[in-house]
């Protein structure tokens, strides 16, 4: 109850403060810095040497003067209150309220860095999260406990899509919650995200952490960790399926780079710190399911690829860790501009099928992807030989690609589609092709759902690609 404050600050430099005369202070301890006017700032212990402690001040040291501030150490790493009190709240990147409400009180506290989980307790991801976005639910289904990233070139509506998923996603009637951590957003973007998520916030199903572009970068480094700590308790303590959206992780990594540079660490690729991979893993690996606990944490990091470069360190290292990606492309002219051929949910088979979505889901997704791949090849070929020179099978596939974009992908930003509607649309798209072209689907599924619009053509021509056959006139 009685706190000991250290007042001998030997030096302030950049975001760092050197405190002298400390005893019993440990590495990574959380500190509170008290200002003469009564304000407070927060810090983390980076290094301890005898009676000297090096403290990184999260909000920066601007305006501070040695001799006029006091530093109190908490005796433990940064801890976050956890509990249902977070649901329905809008806070800043450190978890302080932005919605005019009281501070978030929890039923307990948990270290923001997360508790290590016994690997033997982990369960593989299973069962779907329905996002209400047709192209994702049909082709790259989110699986509970999975980590799957949204990759986007700058200028694409990745935030709109992330907010739409956060606003609409559900776990088919089971308790569900969303933790949305926004990192490095502009005021306009943050306002858009808040509007999109308002209904869900008011319903007490969402936690929104907003770290704006003007907020201290070091705060941004803590934001995803706070989000995950809150989510872990909602999931494994309170039995909810929790979707954690981290937007945008490129902003996080840039913050990490700045902090690393301030610490004078040796820079690695593109000046990001050498530990970028393990740092990202320490975030991404906090999702999953735990044996004997009903909830799950599913992670949806959003990344902008600087210059559209998928080999940039941030998307590159993220791709190593995550279990799939949803790629947005400027080549796609409709919203959401998901590129189906570049997107993949690696654990999708664990989340779809009979009793989960629809029995034919995996086959249907594979068939759609195969047909779209053939349409892409036909389109390339048409650029060389002209569309008239394509065979009828190639032309049918081009029609399918058009129907796919128009009927399945195109969706309003406020439109949530049921799984039923998504499947109706997907079958309508596949029905552009004759039954003979749909070799990946079982006879029962085709009998039940395949409804070709026009009578099927007579004898099929060989399906060679680029044969250049003309249809008989």
């Amino acid at each position: 109850m009685i706190e000991l404050e250290y007042t001998d600050v030997a030096e302030l430099r950049g975001p760092l403060a050197v405190v002298r005369g400390v005893a019993g202070v440990g590495w990574d301890e959380f500190a509170v810095i008290r200002l003469p006017g009564g304000g407070t700032r927060h810090g983390l212990v980076l290094e301890v040497d005898r009676d000297l402690a090096l403290v990184q001040v999260l909000e920066g040291t601007a305006g501070l003067a040695p001799g006029r501030i006091g530093v109190t150490f908490s005796g433990a790493p940064f801890r976050v209150p956890v509990g249902p009190g977070w649901l329905g709240r809008v806070c800043d990147g450190l978890g302080d309220p932005l919605d005019g409400g009281p501070p978030v009180f929890g039923t307990a506290t948990a270290p923001a860095g997360g508790l290590p989980l016994n690997p033997a307790w982990r369960l593989p991801p299973a069962d779907p999260i329905i996002t209400g976005v047709s192209v994702i639910d049909a082709l790259t289904t989110l699986v509970r406990g999975q980590k799957i990233a949204i990759f986007a070139a700058p200028g694409l509506p990745h935030l709109d899509l992330a907010a739409q998923i956060a606003a609409q996603a559900h776990a088919a009637g089971e308790p569900f919650g969303v933790v949305f951590a926004a990192m490095g957003l502009t005021h306009a973007d943050a306002s858009g995200v808040r509007d999109a998520l308002e209904a869900r916030t008011a319903a007490g199903e969402l936690v929104l952490l907003l770290n704006l572009a003007g907020d201290p970068v070091i705060e941004r480094v803590l934001t995803p960790r706070i989000a995950l700590t809150v989510a872990e308790h909602l999931a494994f303590g309170l039995g909810r399926h929790v979707l954690v959206v981290l937007a945008d992780m490129t902003g996080y990594c840039e913050a990490l780079r700045e902090v690393s540079a301030a610490r004078s660490e040796v820079p690695a690729r593109r000046a990001y710190p050498g530990y970028l991979y393990s740092d990202l893993a320490s975030i991404y690996e906090r999702c999953g399911r735990v044996r004997g606990r009903p909830g799950s944490v599913t992670l949806l990091p959003v990344l902008t690829m600087p210059g559209g470069d998928i080999t940039h360190p941030v998307p590159d290292l993220t791709g190593y860790i995550t279990e799939g990606q949803i790629v947005l492309s400027s080549e796609i002219s409709v919203y959401p501009p998901v590129d189906p051929l570049a997107s993949l949910s690696r654990l999708m088979r664990g989340g779809v099928g009979a009793g989960r979505t629809r029995p034919e889901h995996a086959d249907l997704a594979a068939q759609l992807i195969a047909a779209l791949a053939r349409a892409a090849r036909a389109r390339e070929l048409a650029e060389f030989v002209g569309a008239d020179a394509l065979g009828p099978a190639d032309r049918r596939h081009l029609d399918l690609a058009d129907a796919f974009a128009r009927d399945l992908v195109a969706q309003r930003r406020d439109e949530s589609r049921s799984l039923e509607e998504t499947f109706t649309r997907a079958w309508r798209v596949l029905s552009v092709l004759p039954r003979a072209d749909l070799a990946m689907l079982g006879a029962a599924a085709l009998d039940a759902h395949h409804r070709p619009a026009a009578p099927e053509p007579g004898p099929q021509e060989p399906d060679g690609i680029g044969t250049g056959h003309r249809e008989p006139r």
Partner: protein, 167 residues
């Protein structure tokens, strides 16, 4: 000569007539098709405009609804914050009231001891006008004044504080 050429002229005339009729028919067909295409396009533009109008209206309504919800929620949260601040104020007041308590000197002694235990024996301890004690030493400070202790007590109640506004 003229008579000899008459069949040819007649044939040429007939052909020209047929061709003209064909051209006219084609032109009519083309006109009809252009007309139909224009009508289809007009209908499409009209439908798109209607849809865009509907979408715009829906977006506007959604914005207004979001704003109303936000206002409502803001009012509830502001009331909770006020309740907490009032609770904190009363706790500080009640703690300050201990100065008039007959047990206050004993409390001061206990606080002095606790402050020494926390900050070391070299601390210079003095009583604070707000009640409680403050200890200062080389590079160290211990604040055990009554309002500060009351604040910490409220903070440590954590989840219990929510009972102020829960039904």
């Amino acid at each position: 000569m003229e008579r000899a050429l008459a069949p040819l002229a007649a044939e040429l005339l007939r052909r020209a007539g047929r061709e003209a009729a064909g051209t006219a028919a084609r032109a009519r067909a083309e006109a009809a098709s252009i007309d139909a295409a224009a009508r289809r396009e007009a209908a499409r533009v009209l439908a798109a405009a209607r849809e865009s109008g509907r979408a715009e209206h829906a977006a506007e309504a959604a914005r207004a609804l979001a704003e109303a919800r936000r206002e409502g929620r803001r009012a509830v949260l502001a009331a909770q914050r006020q309740a907490l601040e009032e609770f904190r104020r009363r706790a500080r007041e009640a703690a300050g009231g201990l100065r008039a308590d007959p047990g206050y000197p004993a409390l001061l002694r206990a606080l002095t001891e606790a402050a020494r235990r926390r900050g070391g024996t070299e601390l210079a301890i003095r009583e604070h006008p707000d009640g409680g004690v403050v200890g200062e030493g080389p590079g160290r400070r211990v604040d055990a004044t009554l309002p500060v202790l009351a604040d910490r007590m409220v903070d440590s109640l954590a989840g219990e504080v929510c009972r102020l506004w829960l039904p």
